[in-house]
Amino acid sequence: MSDKADVWQGTLALMVLKTLEALGPLHGYGIARRIEQTSGGLLSINYGTLYPALLKLEQEGYISSEWGASDNNRKAKFYKLTRAGRKQLTKETREWERTTAILARFFAPLEES
C-alpha cells in the first residue's frame, strides 16, 4: 500500500510543480482545481491529499509559501516554485519522459524484427 502511495505522491508532486510553473504562484485550492481540470476529469482526487504533498515539497525546498489575497480578496496561502524547484521539475520531466518512452515501447504492438 505504501508503495502505491509513494508512486502517487511522486506523480502528484510532479503535477504540482508543473502547475506552479505554468500558472505562477497559486493557493492549494487553485492547484487542486487545476490538476483536476488538466486531467480532464479523469483524475478525481481528494483535495486533502494535496496538503501533505505541498508540505513535503516545501520541506525539500522546491516550493515556498506566503500568505496573500485570492482573486475574490480572500486570505489564502500562496505557493510558488523556487529555483531549486524549477531545476527539479526539468529533471523530473526528463525522467518521466524517459520512463514513459520505455513503457510505451513495451506496450507498443510487436513489430517483426
Binding site: H27, G28, Y29, G30, R33, N46, Y47, G48, T49, Y51, P52, L55, K56, Q59, E60, G61, Y62, S70, N72, R74, K75, A76, K77, A84
Partner: protein
C-alpha cells in the same frame, strides 16, 4: 542520503518546536480552501448547505487531512517518544517520595560505580602522559634483590647497548627520598633519579626551561641540576615564571632548577608521582655516602624502554633474556638466574599490578552488587506502580494498543529515572573522588593517584545509567503488560489472595542475600580489626612515640652522625616522663623491612647466593626496652659494644630455634651479608615479633648494635609513662635545637599500625558502608512490596475481619507472608557468605571466616530490619475497618 532529503529531515526535526502556530496556520489554510470551494459551488448553483457538504467531501475531511499533514510535518516516532517522556515526567513529579527514593538509591549506586571506575580508568585505561605511550614497556627483573624488580646501573648499561635492534632506547629511574630546603623550610619528599635520556625517550618537553638531557648525565657528581614537576613548581616557587636558574638545597647540596614539566606529567608510575627529577650522575650526592653507579650487585634502578616500531613485546623479551644469559655468563656471581619479563608500565615494573587488580576488582564487585540491589529495588517499586494502572493497561490493550507501545510508555518513566540518577551519580562521584584524592593514606611513599573524570568515565557512567534503566525498567514493564484482560477489566484481583508472583519474592530473596553477604564481609573485617588490637606484635605500641630523620640526606658523615645520635639520646632520656629511649634504623611494623643473608658458623651453604636469610636491623642500647620487647635470654646491647669491641648481635627466638635447635644460642657466631663480613657473637635473645606485616609467620630476625654498624637513617623510639601526645612537640623541638635544618617527623608508635591495618580498615569501611546501604535498600524494597500487597488486599482483609478474624491474626498472617522470602534470603546469603569470605582469609588475622558471632549478629540485624519493614504495613492491615474496606470498591 540526498541533500534535499537531509534538508527535509532537518526541517522535520526542527518542526518539533512551534507546533501550535503551524497547526493554526493549517487550520486557516484549510478554512480558506473550503470557503473558496463553497463559493465556486454556490456559483455552480448549489444550495449553501449542499455547497459546503460537497466541498468537505471533496477535501476528504478536515481531521483526516490534518492527520496526514501532521505525519508529513514532524517525526511521529519521536513525537510519541517526547509525549511518553512528558507523561513519565508528570507521573514522577506526582509522586515525589517515590522519585526521591528511586533517584537517591540509584544515584548512590551509579556514583559509587563511577568513582571506582575512575580508579580503574587511571590504573588500567589511561595511557602514561608521554608520546606514543603504547610503545613503552616496563622491564622486570624476575630475581631482583629483596624481591624488588630492579636492575643495577652496570647491567642497565649493558642491556641498553645490546638491545638496540629491538628498543629505540632503554632508560632507568629510581625513587629517592629527599630533604629539600627552600625559603627556610625543610621537607621530606620523594624524587626520581633518572638516566639522561629519560625525557628524550618519553618525548615530553618542559613547560618552562628545558628537561634533563644526556649532557646532564655525563660526569658523576658534575651536574647539580633538577627539573620540577608542575605541582612542585606551584607549591615551592608559587608558580614563579622566572624559576629557571634558581636553586634548591637538596640533601645538603645546592641544585639549580633548569625546567618545569607541564601540568599532567606525573612521571612513569601511576601511583608514585615525583616532585623533582635529577640526573643519575648525581646519585652519590643525592643518596649521600651511598654510591652504586659502578656496582653490579646493587639493584635499584627500574628500567623501561620504547620498543622499535613493529617489534612485539615478546620479541623484545626474548632478546633481553638472551642478553641476560650473556650477562649471567660474564658475571655469574651477581647475575645468577636473573631473567626479565616485560609488562605494561606504571605498576613499579609490574610489582603492584596484582595488588591493584585485586583491590580495584574487589571494589568493582562490591559496587556492582550495590547497584544491582538498587536496580532490583526499583524494579519492585515500578512493578507496584504499574500494577496500580492494571485496569488502564487492560483497557488500552483491549482497545487494540500494541503491547510494544505500552512497554515503551512504561519504559520512558524508568529511563527518565535512570538519566536523573546518572546525573546525580556523576555529581556524587565527583565529590567522592575529590574526597579520596584529599585523603592521604598513611603510607610513606610518594603516593599520588591522579583521579579525575575524563571522557572514558563519562561514557562509562552514561552506559551504566542507561543499562540500569533498561534493566530495572524492562522487566516490570513486560510483566505489567502481561495482563489477564477479563478480570482486570472487571477490576478484580486476578487471585483473591496475596499475589505470590515468584519473581517478586525472588527479588526480595536476592536482595536480602546480597546485603547479607556484604554485611558479613564488613562484620568480619571489624572483627579482624578488633583481633589485630590483641595480636602479639612482639612489642607494645602504646605509650610510646617515635621520631624519624635521615642524617645522611643532610650531609652528616659518620663521626658527626654518631655525635648527633649520642647527644640527642642523652637529651631525650633526660626529658621528664621518659622511661626508655633507643635508636633503630627501621622500627616494626614496616613494609620496608628487608632480609639479608646469614652464614652460621659451621653451617656454610655451597654457594653464597643460597645462604638462608633473616630480617635485619640495627639498634642502640635501650631500644628493646623502649619498644617494649621482652629479652628472653642473655643481655641487651651496652655502651661497651662499640667499634673496638667484639662484634655482637641479638637474635629472636625463631632465629635461635631455627639455626641452633636444642642448643644454647648464647655465644654462637654467624656472619651477616657476606662471607667476608665479621663474625657476630650472639649475646641475647628477644621474643618473636611482627616485622614487615601483621600476617607474617614468625621470621628469623637479627639486630646489630648501631655503634658497630652505623647508619644515619634513624628512628628514635621513646617510652613514656605520661600521655605520649604531650611528648611529640617536645621531642621534635629537641631535634630542632640540635640541627634546625634537619627535617624530622614525630608520631605515636601506635600510628605505625595504621599502614599494615590499612587494607582491613578500607575493606571494613567499604564493605560495612555498602552493606548498610544495601540493607537500607532492602528495607525500602520490602516495605514497598508489603505496603503494596496490603493495599491490594484491603478488601480481602476486610472480608476476613467481617467474618471474625482478629486484628492480631491479620497482623501475624501478613508478617508471616512478608517474612517468608526474607528468611529464605537470609539462608541463601549465609551460605554464599560462607563461601565468599574464605577468599578474604589472609585479611582476617586469624578470625575464622565462619566466625559465628558475625554471622548470627548480621542475620539478626537483617531479620530485625526486615521485620520492621513488614510490621508497619502489616499494622495498617490489621487496622482495616471491614465496613470501609468492603464499601471501598
Amino acid at each position: 542520503m540526498h541533500v534535499r532529503q537531509v534538508r527535509a529531515w532537518f526541517v522535520r526535526v526542527s518542526s518539533l518546536f512551534g507546533r501550535a502556530r503551524r497547526e493554526r496556520e493549517l487550520a486557516e489554510e484549510l478554512e480558506s480552501h473550503i470557503q473558496m470551494h463553497v463559493e465556486d459551488n454556490l456559483r455552480a448553483g448549489m444550495s449553501l448547505e449542499e455547497a459546503r457538504r460537497q466541498a468537505l467531501v471533496k477535501l476528504g475531511g478536515v481531521a483526516q487531512t490534518t492527520e496526514a499533514w501532521r505525519r508529513q510535518r514532524g517525526l511521529p516516532l519521536i513525537e510519541t517518544l517526547v509525549n511518553d517522556f512528558r507523561y513519565g515526567l508528570r507521573r514522577l513529579t506526582k509522586s515525589p517520595a517515590f522519585t526521591f527514593i528511586a533517584v537517591l538509591s540509584l544515584a548512590l549506586g551509579i556514583g559509587a560505580n563511577t568513582a571506582i571506575f575512575s580508579l580503574v580508568n587511571t590504573a588500567f585505561l589511561r595511557p602514561l602522559p608521554v608520546e606514543r605511550p603504547e610503545q613503552i614497556v616496563s622491564v622486570t627483573n624476575t630475581a631482583g634483590s629483596r624481591g624488588f624488580p630492579a636492575f643495577s646501573y652496570p647491567n642497565f648499561k649493558d642491556f641498553r647497548e645490546r638491545s638496540r635492534d629491538v628498543f629505540e632506547d632503554l632508560y632507568a629511574y629510581r625513587f629517592s627520598p629527599l630533604n629539600v630546603s627552600h625559603d627556610g623550610t625543610s621537607e621530606r619528599l620523594w624524587g626520581y633519579v633518572v638516566t639522561g635520556n629519560y625525557f628524550e625517550v618519553l618525548g615530553v618537553k618542559a613547560a618552562i626551561g628545558r628537561t634533563l638531557t644526556p649532557d646532564d648525565d655525563r660526569l658523576p657528581g658534575g651536574h647539580p641540576v633538577t627539573v620540577l614537576s608542575y605541582e612542585g613548581w606551584r607549591r615551592r616557587f608559587g608558580g614563579d615564571p622566572a624559576v629557571v636558574g634558581k636553586s634548591l638545597i637538596v640533601n645538603g647540596r645546592s641544585f639549580t632548577v633548569v625546567g618545569v614539566m607541564p601540568q599532567g606529567f606525573y612521571g612513569t608510575e601511576i601511583i608514585a608521582a615525583p616532585e623533582l627529577w635529577f640526573p643519575v650522575a648525581m646519585q652519590a650526592e643525592i643518596e649521600v655516602g651511598n654510591s652504586w653507579l659502578d656496582k653490579r650487585r646493587v639493584e635499584n634502578l627500574l628500567i623501561q624502554g620504547r620498543l622499535k616500531p613493529g617489534i612485539s613485546p615478546e620479541q623484545a623479551q626474548m632478546t633481553l633474556n638472551a642478553i641476560a644469559l650473556q650477562l649471567e655468563r660474564e658475571f655469574p656471581e651477581d647475575n645468577e638466574g636473573k631473567r626479565v619479563i616485560l609488562s605494561s608500565p606504571g605498576f613499579i615494573s609490574g610489582m603492584m599490578r596484582g595488588a591493584v587488580i585485586g583491590f580495584t576488582g574487589l571494589l568493582m564487585v562490591v559496587v556492582a552488587f550495590v547497584l544491582l540491589l538498587a536496580c532490583i529495588n526499583l524494579a519492585n517499586l515500578l512493578l507496584a506502580r504499574a500494577a496500580e494502572r492494571r485496569r488502564e493497561i487492560a483497557v488500552r490493550l483491549a482497545l487494540g494498543a500494541s503491547r510494544f507501545r505500552l512497554v515503551q510508555q512504561l519504559m520512558a518513566e524508568s529511563m527518565l529515572l535512570a538519566v536523573a540518577s546518572g546525573a546525580c551519580g556523576l555529581l556524587l562521584a565527583y565529590w567522592l573522588i575529590d574526597l579520596a584524592v584529599r585523603l592521604k593514606p598513611p603510607v610513606d611513599v610518594p603516593l599520588a593517584i591522579n583521579l579525575h573524570l575524563d571522557y572514558r568515565v563519562m561514557v562509562f557512567t552514561c552506559a551504566v545509567s542507561l543499562a540500569t534503566g533498561l534493566l530495572f525498567g524492562l522487566l516490570p514493564a513486560w510483566q505489567a503488560t502481561k495482563v489477564d484482560l477479563l478480570p482486570a477489566l472487571k477490576d478484580e484481583s486476578s487471585s483473591g489472595v496475596l499475589q505470590r508472583s515468584w519473581w517478586k519474592s525472588g527479588l526480595i530473596v536476592l536482595q536480602v542475600a546480597l546485603s547479607l553477604v556484604l554485611l558479613v564481609g564488613g562484620g568480619l573485617m571489624l572483627r579482624a580489626l578488633q583481633r589485630a588490637q590483641s595480636l602479639d606484635l612482639g612489642f607494645n605500641p602504646k605509650n610510646a612515640v617515635e621520631v624519624s630523620f635521615d642524617l645522611r640526606l643532610q650531609g652528616y658523615e659518620q663521626a658527626r652522625g654518631r655525635e648527633f645520635q649520642k647527644r640527642l639520646l642523652e637529651r631525650v632520656r633526660a626529658l621528664p616522663g621518659v622511661q626508655h629511649a633507643g635508636f633503630v634504623d627501621l622500627a616494626p611494623v614496616d613494609l620496608h623491612f628487608s632480609r639479608d643473608s646469614v652464614f652460621i658458623e659451621g653451617q656454610m651453604p655451597e654457594r653464597e647466593s643460597r645462604a638462608p636469610r633473616a630480617m635485619v636491623s640495627r639498634a642502640s642500647h635501650g631500644y628493646f626496652q623502649a619498644l617494649g620487647t621482652r629479652l628472653v635470654q642473655g643481655r641487651d646491647f651496652t655502651e661497651r659494644d662499640d667499634e673496638k669491641s667484639q662484634p655482637v648481635a641479638i637474635v629472636n627466638e625463631t632465629f635461635a630455634r631455627h639455626f641452633w635447635p636444642g642448643e644454647d644460642p648464647l655465644g654462637k657466631r654467624f656472619r651477616q651479608g657476606g662471607t667476608e663480613m665479621p663474625l657476630l657473637e650472639v649475646v641475647g635473645v628477644v621474643e618473636d615479633g611482627k616485622y614487615a606485616g601483621l600476617n607474617e609467620a614468625p621470621q628469623p630476625y637479627v639486630v646489630r648494635p648501631l655503634a658497630q654498624a652505623y647508619t644515619g637513617a634513624n628512628t628514635l623510639i621513646i617510652r613514656t609513662d605520661r600521655d605520649p601526645r604531650e611528648l611529640l612537640a617536645t621531642v621534635r623541638n629537641e631535634v630542632r635545637l640540635l640541627d634546625p635544618h634537619l627535617p624530622s617527623s614525630a608520631k605515636l608508635l601506635e600510628e605505625r599500625l595504621a599502614m599494615p591495618l590499612l587494607p582491613v580498615r578500607v575493606a571494613a569501611s567499604l564493605l560495612g558502608s555498602f552493606g548498610l546501604l544495601a540493607l537500607a535498600l532492602a528495607a525500602i524494597g520490602i516495605y514497598g512490596i508489603m505496603s503494596y500487597a496490603v493495599s491490594r488486599r484491603t478488601r480481602e482483609i476486610g472480608i476476613r475481619m467481617a467474618l471474625g478474624a482478629q486484628a492480631s491474626h491479620v497482623l501475624r498472617l501478613t508478617i508471616r507472608q512478608g517474612m517468608a522470602p526474607v528468611l529464605f534470603g537470609v539462608a541463601i546469603g549465609l551460605a554464599a557468605a560462607l563461601g565468599l569470605t574464605r577468599l578474604a582469609k589472609n585479611l582476617l588475622f586469624g578470625v575464622s571466616a565462619a566466625d559465628p558471632l558475625t554471622y548470627v549478629g548480621v542475620a539478626a540485624l537483617l531479620t530485625g530490619v526486615a521485620l520492621l519493614a513488614c510490621y508497619v504495613p502489616a499494622r495498617r492491615a490489621s487496622k482495616v475497618d471491614p465496613l470501609v474496606a468492603l464499601r471501598n470498591e
